[in-house]
Amino acid sequence: MSPTSRARLLPLALLALLLALPAAGLARPPDDIARHRATVEALAGHEHSRAVSRELGQLRSWIDAAGRQWRRGDGEGLEQTLARLDAQAELVRARLQAAKARDALNRSQESLANVRHQIEAERQRYEAMRSFLEGGE
């Protein structure tokens, strides 16, 4: 390769390097996106995930959007979307915990109603037996 050719190619090489820099700067986001995808799948497997189906749908939609933003080099948009994804995942976790707490409370209240019903039945039985023993029957 002659020096002249090399001199001609140099600007092209620099241009390619300049174009590659933003992509290199955005090298992490795919990792973030993959992490969020894994998070969504884990959250979707939760026993109370039906309570957060809308939020999970939103998460998936934003993950897709993040992928598109990364591909077209929209750094600002990607940063915003990743921030929303982090916050939204936290929201889903909080809502799942609330749903779990509500479920546990409902079960306790059902058990309580059941025990109270048994207490009432046993009390009636007790009173009937006592009445019988005291000659009331």
Binding site: L91, V115, L133
Partner: protein, 317 residues
């Protein structure tokens, strides 16, 4: 348009504390030329001004601050005409606020759970106490009936529930006297009874009668519920008591020694009571069957810890 922009102070005034201040500042800064709030901003203001907002802020102040800051940034972006930033920030405000609400809700539910658990424990204790009272009452009934029909009192084997209702004066149910049977015939009948009982479990004979060890004759129904006798077992025992009037029945229950002794005693009483009740429901005279809970008892050779020993004892012994 100006009229709509001046509706913001009224909304902002409903926002408590920091958000109200932020909204007011944002409003004052751009009062003259601020565009009307967008639907997403209005939607956030409505949920941020809900009745329980103060309680949410009290439980989750950091998240509430983040929500209010994002809301203020959304207002700025809206005033600057930056729709993309406004949408992002109002999304963030909405997410932060709803996270705060969810955590507040979980905290409230957890507090209610503590109360519900305590109430449930109290109710279960009350139920167990009631069952102990009933077992004592039934034991007392048997003692009174035996005293009236057979002279000397039948001693309580548990030593726990005796005497609680010692002052009762029950009229003894009428039970036909056990028929007189010749010794040879009695021996043959006892052997026949032992053969019939062998289908239920290990059987032993003595001069007084026959006893069989049952496993699974009474089934626990889960926490807080009374155990229930297996209908097939109760049917067969009821039939045999009827066919062998020379014997009375003693149902002695044992429950796993690994439990708390007092719990084991109460559960064993409930088990004995369940089988006795099932027999009475099948027409066996109350005075012919007594139920005794022996708690964990002593381990008896290879016998299972959870078992019921049903003793056919010569009537009057």
């Amino acid at each position: 348009m100006a009229t709509r922009s001046h509706t913001r102070p009224a909304r902002a005034a409903r926002l408590p504390g920091v958000p109200g201040l932020l909204a007011g500042l944002a409003l004052l800064a751009g009062c003259a030329s601020a565009p009307p709030p967008s639907p997403d901003i209005r939607a956030f203001e409505i949920q941020r001004g809900a009745d329980d907002a103060d309680a949410v802020v009290g439980d989750e102040p950091a998240l509430a601050r983040q929500a209010d800051a994002a809301y203020a940034r959304a207002l700025d972006a809206h005033a600057d005409g930056d729709a993309r930033l406004r949408i992002h920030e109002i999304h963030m405000a909405d997410i932060y606020w709803r996270t705060a609400v969810a955590r507040h809700e979980r905290l409230r539910l957890s507090n209610e759970q503590v109360i519900a658990d305590q109430t449930l424990r109290d109710a279960r204790a009350e139920l167990e106490a009631l069952r102990v009272d009933i077992a004592a009452l039934e034991e007392s009934e048997v003692r009174e009936a035996a005293r009236a029909a057979q002279g000397p009192a039948v001693s309580s084997s548990t030593g726990v529930i005796s005497g609680q209702l010692g002052g009762t004066t029950a009229a003894a149910p009428e039970v036909p006297a056990a028929p007189a049977i010749a010794p040879a015939e009695a021996s043959a009948r006892r052997a026949e009874l032992a053969r019939l009982l062998a289908g239920l479990g290990p059987v032993a004979e003595s001069a007084d009668g026959v006893w069989v060890t049952l496993v699974g004759a009474v089934v626990e129904q889960g926490a807080g519920q009374a155990p229930a006798a297996e209908p097939v077992v109760a049917d067969l025992l009821g039939l045999l008591v009827d066919q062998y009037p020379e014997y009375d029945l003693s149902v002695e229950a044992y429950v796993d020694a690994g439990r708390d002794p007092s719990v084991a005693l109460m559960r064993s009483q409930a088990v004995a009571l369940a089988l006795r009740t099932a027999l009475v429901e099948r027409g066996v005279a109350r005075s012919r069957v007594k139920g005794i809970g022996r708690g964990a008892g002593d381990r008896n050779g290879d016998l299972p810890a959870d078992r019921v020993e049903v003793r056919f004892v010569t009537a009057g012994r």
